[in-house]
């Protein structure tokens, strides 16, 4: 959704604002790029904060370990029980959390840029809902029907992954008509979301209340009891898909201008659109499979990132880093500050949403993608 903003919005008193510095061009041989320090500083600061919060998180628990000690252990200088606690018990949870946040943030930024709509995200387009259908079916039906037992035998992560990928394939296949139009993508996504929500609700109303309760915790998104084997598929997915997504950044900038302009600027439209949608679906499918649909990270974080880093669209790297920071930070809060450990999916919304609201109230941006 593009909303016409005046070329230079007037300041509060009606006086023209000072011109914004747009960054400086850097040229190395034939390659040139526009360097905007905020777009580098925000991911860098976010990454530093992420390392600190992650180390803090790995130190907290029944057996407290100092931040310095944690960092030394991670560097391979730890010993005995501390090494076991940090590397085997606590690190997987934090790593899964960080990767999930990263994947969700980048995926949300991809969807929002592609659909030119700040509300587009894997949550609203039905992909995480599809994962929920898979997982809830595996939890609820495993005792009752033979098909359910088959699903249950797959295990919840695999059922969720299949649900997300199937929904992503449907979304792509039903949207495709000699190209993926952003507007059509959104409309088809709405329909898939409502089907997924209806199926999940139906499964929940028909389930035994114990199954319904455990399914509900899964739907909320949780990092409890994650091990290295949960982290492995997600790590592979992120290592493969993230560089591809960053490489697509330039094409995304061009897609922003609208299909016709992008084509005029030399983008192969169908291929570029396909690549962007597949990357976004792939990232979110593996993330949801590892930790459940940690809600609203993909919706809220790109909007926070674009307000912090500036620019015309949600920046990919900053969205990813801030997503990771949000999930790991929320996990730390649930485990240490709250009297009762809640699933991390509750805290990501409870921390991320007020921050976005504050940015909206305070912010000077009149409109954004």
């Amino acid at each position: 959704m593009s909303v016409a903003a005046p070329a230079r919005p007037a300041g509060p008193g009606g006086a023209p604002r000072p011109p914004v510095r747009r960054g400086r061009a850097v040229r190395i041989g034939p390659v040139s790029a526009l360097l905007r320090w905020r777009q580098l500083a925000v991911p860098a600061a976010g990454f530093a904060a992420l390392v600190l919060v992650a180390a803090l998180s790995m130190g907290r628990g029944d057996f407290p370990i100092g931040v310095g000690e944690v960092l030394r252990t991670l560097a391979g200088l730890g010993e005995g029980p501390q090494e076991f606690i940090v590397l085997e018990l606590r690190a997987p949870r934090v790593v899964v959390g960080a990767l999930v946040g990263l994947a969700l943030g980048v995926s949300g930024a991809l969807f929002q840029t592609f659909a030119r709509n700040p509300l587009a995200s894997p949550d609203t387009l039905g992909i995480t809902t599809g994962a929920s259908v898979g997982a809830v079916a595996a939890i609820v039906l495993s005792g009752s029907t033979s098909a359910g037992a088959l699903l249950g035998g797959l295990g919840i992560p695999l059922a969720a992954l299949l649900g997300a990928l199937a929904t992503g394939a449907l979304l792509f296949g039903l949207t495709w008509r000699a190209g993926v139009d952003g507007y059509r993508l959104v409309l088809v996504g709405i329909a898939l979301w409502s089907v997924g929500t209806a199926l999940t609700d139906w499964l929940l109303t028909n389930a035994e209340i114990y199954d319904a309760a455990s399914a509900y915790v899964w739907i909320t998104g949780s990092l409890n009891a994650r091990t290295w084997s949960d982290a492995l598929p997600l790590t592979v997915a992120v290592v493969v898909l993230l560089p591809l997504a960053l490489a697509a950044s330039r094409v995304l900038t061009l897609l922003q201008f609208g299909d016709d302009t992008a084509r005029g600027l030399g983008v192969r439209l169908a291929g570029a659109q396909t690549a962007v949608v597949l990357l976004a679906v792939g990232l979110v499918a593996f993330a949801v499979s590892a930790a459940g649909p940690i809600t609203f990270v993909a919706l809220v974080v790109p909007q926070i990132a674009v307000r912090l880093a500036g620019g015309a669209r949600p920046p990919l790297l900053a969205s990813g880093v801030l997503g990771a920071l949000l999930v790991v930070g929320a996990d730390l809060v649930t485990r240490t500050l709250l009297p009762q450990a809640l699933p991390v999916g509750i805290l990501t919304a409870a921390i991320g949403a007020p921050y976005l609201l504050w940015l909206l109230v305070r912010g000077r941006r009149r409109s954004t993608v």
Partner: protein, 348 residues
């Protein structure tokens, strides 16, 4: 995004469009009437059309069939008509104001506010009947919307489509986080809540329709009054202002209408997202983006759709029934996707 603007050209160019709109309106009226009849005649117990008619015209008839028709099916049909129309109307308004195809009435914090209020009513006060939820849901819906509007318009740019949509999404996220925080630790509340959140016309007594009717009436009035202003707002705020439109007033009227319509509907039946989200897109493909036609047609289409889905839900799972919210999505979504793929849907 290219916004198609319907120029009200006088004379010859106008008539085909007008004929098509009138045709759409007539078709929808017939559909609503047929759906209402089906909703009265069809159910777990099959009652012949003759018996239905006899029960409707002769209010002293005391047979079992007549009692079923008068005390169960007619109130349920009336409620379905009211709620479906309200949701369709609210959806069209919401998409017009946010100029976002993802704008559903729930976006404004209505559903999230109502959900939180209902969860609190169940867990803190032990209320577990649909008629007990009504006022809590309504109060929650009102509070949610007022908060969203206050936050969305507090920024320096005032209430723009983007800030409204984002404020709604963010506040809903926050409220749902509270809902989930209660539900994951309270199995008993989840047990009641999971049946409310699906959205259903079943088990609502006739009193509920009367309770929400005044709010719906005011909402419909405000919504229809808002139509010309919405057409101008569709040209962009600057143009609308230039044409003499008071932006804040138009927005306030529109959002008040959405709040009343959607809040009352959610209070009566629980959250039903599909109607408000999808009906306006389907109707827009037929009437074009003129809100003077889009709004009434969306109301009729919403009413017909909700009733048809309710009837189907009663038939497919005899002797039990499938909740209307589930049926709507399962049968409505494939049609909607087919429509999106076949036609060029009119932009917002």
């Amino acid at each position: 995004m290219a916004t198609t603007v319907d120029v009200p050209a006088r004379g010859a160019a106008r008539s085909p469009v007008r004929a098509r709109r009138l045709g759409t309106l007539a078709l929808l009226l017939v559909l609503v009437a047929a759906a209402a009849l089906a909703s009265i005649a069809v159910g777990t117990r099959s009652i012949g059309v003759g018996d239905v008619w006899a029960a409707l015209v002769d209010s002293s008839l005391g047979t079992e069939e007549a009692v079923i028709v008068r005390q169960l099916r007619v109130p349920r049909t009336v409620l379905g008509l009211m709620v479906g129309a309200a949701l369709g109307l609210a959806g069209a308004l919401m998409q017009g104001h946010t100029r976002n195809p993802l704008g559903d009435p729930g976006l404004l914090g209505v559903t999230a506010g109502a959900s939180l209020a209902v969860v609190l009513a169940i867990s803190a006060l032990g209320i577990t009947t649909p008629s007990g939820y009504v006022w809590f849901a309504f109060a929650g819906a009102l509070t949610g919307t007022v908060l969203v509007y206050a936050i969305g318009s507090a920024g320096p740019g005032g209430a723009t489509p983007v800030t409204l949509a984002l404020a709604g999404a963010a506040l809903s996220a926050l409220l749902y986080a509270l809902v989930r925080a209660i539900l994951v630790s309270d199995q008993q509340t989840l047990d009641s809540f999971r049946f409310w959140v699906v959205g259903s016309l079943a088990g609502r007594d006739a009193g509920i329709a009367w309770q929400v009717a005044p709010f719906l009436a005011v909402g419909v009035l405000l919504a229809l009054l808002n139509a010309p202003a919405l057409n101008l707002l569709g040209l962009g705020e600057d143009v609308a202002r230039g044409l003499g439109q008071r932006i804040w007033l138009a927005r306030a009227v529109g959002l008040a209408a959405v709040t009343l319509l959607c809040g009352a509907a959610t209070a009566a039946c629980g959250p039903i997202a599909f109607v408000g989200l999808v009906v306006p897109h389907a109707v827009r493909a037929l009437t074009g983006p003129d809100h003077r036609w889009l709004l009434p047609c969306s109301a009729l289409a919403g009413a017909a759709l909700l009733l048809v889905a309710d009837v189907v839900g009663r038939v497919v799972a005899r002797p039990g029934e499938l909740q209307v919210g589930i049926v709507l999505a399962l049968i409505g979504a494939p049609f909607f996707i087919a429509l999106v793929r076949r036609r060029r849907t009119a932009g917002l």
